[in-house]
Amino acid sequence: MLNFLGKRAVASAISLVGLVLLVFFLSRLTGDPTGLYLPLDASEEARNQFREIHGLNDPLIVQFFSYMADLIRFDFGDSIRRSEPAIDVVMRGFAWTLQLTFVTMSLVVVFAVIFGSLAAFNVGGVFDRIATFFSLIGASAPDFWIAIVAIVIFSVKLGWFPTSGTGTVWHWVMPVSVLFIRPFGLILQIVRGAMITALGSAYVKTARAKGIKNRPIIFVHALRNALLPVITVIGDQAAALLNGAVVIESIFGFPGVGKLMIDSILQRDFTVVMAAIMVTAMAIFVMNLLIDILYSILDPRIRY
């Protein structure tokens, strides 16, 4: 296992360096940010001063090596837009994104596994039809529309929840609920499909023949074997959320890393773009590693 972890860490580090190279040069290809930060009427003198302050007058290759030299010392540079360390800006946003992802995916996993398993147990039954219907709606509904409608109904009309923002437990209800819908629909369908296969297998029939009750058959015997493809999809969905739920962050005023990244790309705030991509990439590497470990725990045949 340690050998495997070491190999994965090296592979991740190589990928990260490649990513840094790619993002550094691609982001610079978008052009000079000076015009975005100074007023349209700014003189050429003021523009040159701005470029000088932010090291933009140097040749690109010089900028790159200077950036890498700083990066080795864990100095990600200062945000052009915010005049503070880029890593501070990113970590502040990432903490919110991480919390949002954790809460949402925890709820998604619990509910999707329970409802998917129960739907698979009685295929074609009333519960299965209802679960399938709602999960398909959830997987295909546009989240920005659901978010706006939810605000109008639950905040403006009923006054049950705050429209947006952070601060109390109630502020989390609508963003988490809206974020919940799509991965829940998708994962429920995956669980259902995997469980139908598992419940039709020989070892389940044997268990039934031995008189074991339905609950342990579903949640102990079948579920464990059905979970491998489910975990893969959970990983994909969690990675998507870690990249930032841009729409939800924008609508509900959650100061996460997704909206920060989009704003920084549009504003050519290169240091923040670089830091955000690196932090997110590292988080996804760690998550994939955890998923690999989980595979081996769930299926003893998998050994690294």
Binding site: G31, P33, L40, D41, I53, S83, S164, T168, L266
Partner: protein, 501 residues
């Protein structure tokens, strides 16, 4: 219920109380469209920075009121000393919120700071580019300010200069602004909110609003919903489609003017008949109340009607497709390459329904017989095409732009937009250069007359651009407030002007 259940219910109830009690009687919550990247007074001409800091935290030397003209603020009076020097007599008994006394040293330091090469202050770059500013302290409350070249409107320019304490750094932005204004800057929780509270040592009258919280939501519908739900009191700048409640929604001229910039050097746009045809081909009135808001005005010049020298007698070009076609044919007969493809360039998200507006313009031009294609581009790409140096091999282009002038004087617009050396000028016309120089140097009624003459020349003789609309902005205001947004709300929001009903 178990102990855990009790605890959950108790914490939920506490949260509910906290959420329900956000609006105290003498406090307001303002929801802005974007988070402030910096809280630097010398960049408070940026609209969202200005709405928090300008005249709330940091006050200016003079103050420009679109209704009454130039007013005293930290300076009580000023006089022209000749040779580009103006003497400002500062108000006495003014202190910064940190307790230090405001005097001429602070004003001198603020002038140096806004032009500091180590920080990119918006005010210095925007209003004092190409101008050397020096000061001479006469006494603690008297200061001479000299502009080179001389600026007859220096007192007006001083309405943009926010005064910071003399220990404000010259090489970095501040993250906790100190000012002389009616409010103090309490806290900035990045990504979430900014809070201000009334300054108990303010030199002027104590404001009614005792504290303010600013929060940030990028979606217009959410900003409007926050006011409707009572979570916020003011949402400046909401979209047309969200301004549906007459009791809460205000429309007002927002000082923005939309136009198509023509670069005259490129054929066939170098032909006056073609430029006139471009103006006659647009049915401007068809936009108002459909794609654009009711109340949108048809423009004849680049500055709104509140600026001095605005010529109300100038008439917008009437929609006349037959005349436009005839002009094109006439130009074609004289060998003007009128069939050359013209690129119509729009800026995405520049204003509500910009795409629909650009598509409608394209259809109108194609209907007349122009060969034209539309490109919608992001702001960064737009800037590369809009500002000099223009890209090579660009071909003839019409570039949509929206220009803001809430300062009351065309000088803030005309040089950059129309002078041969102007950063965004599509013109090279010595006559225009001379008219700009004369109007800039003039004062009083003569100044207004000279600006009027320039507007007339650009609109009727040169046909410099395709002037389109003076735009309307929308803000939603909670009914508990006695406050009407105005043209100034586009760039500032003076909390001290807000009362409660």
């Amino acid at each position: 219920m178990t102990r855990k259940t009790h605890l959950f219910v108790a914490s939920a109830l506490a949260s509910a109380v906290a959420f329900g009690a956000q609006a105290q009687d003498n406090s307001v919550t303002v929801v802005l469209s974007e988070e402030l990247e910096i809280v630097e007074p010398c960049s408070s001409t940026k609209s969202n920075v200005g709405r928090v800091l300008f005249q709330n935290i940091s006050e200016t030397v003079t103050e420009m009121d679109p209704k009454t003209g130039l007013e005293p603020r930290l300076a009580e009076s000023w006089e022209d000393m000749g040779n580009g020097t103006w003497r400002f007599s500062l108000r006495q008994g003014v202190t910064f919120s940190d307790g230090t006394v405001m005097d001429a040293e602070d004003v001198a330091h603020s002038l140096v700071r806004m032009k500091s090469p180590d920080i990119a202050c918006e005010i210095g770059a925007k209003f004092f580019g190409g101008i050397d500013i020096t000061s001479n302290i006469i006494d603690a409350h008297t200061i001479d300010v000299t502009a080179d070249p001389a600026q007859p409107i220096l007192p007006m320019l001083m309405s943009t200069v926010t005064v910071t304490p003399q220990d404000a750094p010259l090489d970095s932005f501040v993250d906790h602004p100190i000012g002389t204004g009616p409010y103090t800057f309490d806290e900035y929780v990045r990504g979430q909110s900014i809070t201000l509270s009334a300054n108990p040592t303010y030199w002027g009258e104590q404001p009614t609003v005792q504290s303010a919280t600013y929060v940030f939501r990028s979606d217009s519908a959410v900003r409007a919903a926050m006011v409707a739900a009572g979570e916020a009191d003011i949402a400046p700048n909401i979209a047309l489609q969200d301004a549906v409640n007459p009791a809460m929604d205000f429309s007002y001229p927002n000082s923005e003017t939309v136009f198509l910039r023509i670069e005259h050097a490129q054929a066939p746009l170098n032909d006056r008949r073609v430029r006139e045809a471009l103006n006659l081909a647009v049915d401007r009135e068809a936009f108002v109340g459909t794609i654009l808001a009711d109340g949108t005005l048809l423009a004849t010049g680049i500055t709104p009607p509140s600026t001095i020298g605005y010529d109300a007698d100038l008439k917008p070009y009437a929609y006349d497709p037959d005349r436009a076609r005839a002009l094109l044919e006439e130009a074609r007969a004289d060998g003007v390459p009128v069939d050359t493809n013209i690129t119509l360039i729009g800026r995405t998200n520049n204003f509500a329904n910009v795409l629909e507006t650009m598509e409608a313009l394209l259809a109108m031009y194609q209907e007349i017989g122009f060969t034209m294609t539309l490109e919608m581009v992001e702001v960064a790409e737009w800037l590369e095409r809009y500002a000099k140096p223009f890209p090579e091999n660009r071909g003839p282009q019409l570039i949509e732009a929206q220009h803001d002038n809430a300062n009351g004087d065309p000088v803030f617009s005309m040089y950059f937009k129309y002078h041969s050396e102007g950063q965004q000028s599509g013109l090279t016309d010595p006559k225009v250069d001379a008219m700009i120089a004369e109007a800039t140097a003039a004062t009083g009624d003569e100044r207004a007359a000279k600006w009027s003459a320039l507007f007339g020349y650009l609109h009727e003789e040169s046909i410099a651009d395709v002037m389109l609309f003076h735009m309307v902005g929308f803000s939603r205001v909670n009914e508990r407030l006695d406050f009407a947004p105005s043209i100034r709300t586009n760039s500032e929001l003076q909390l001290s002007q807000i009362k409660f009903k």
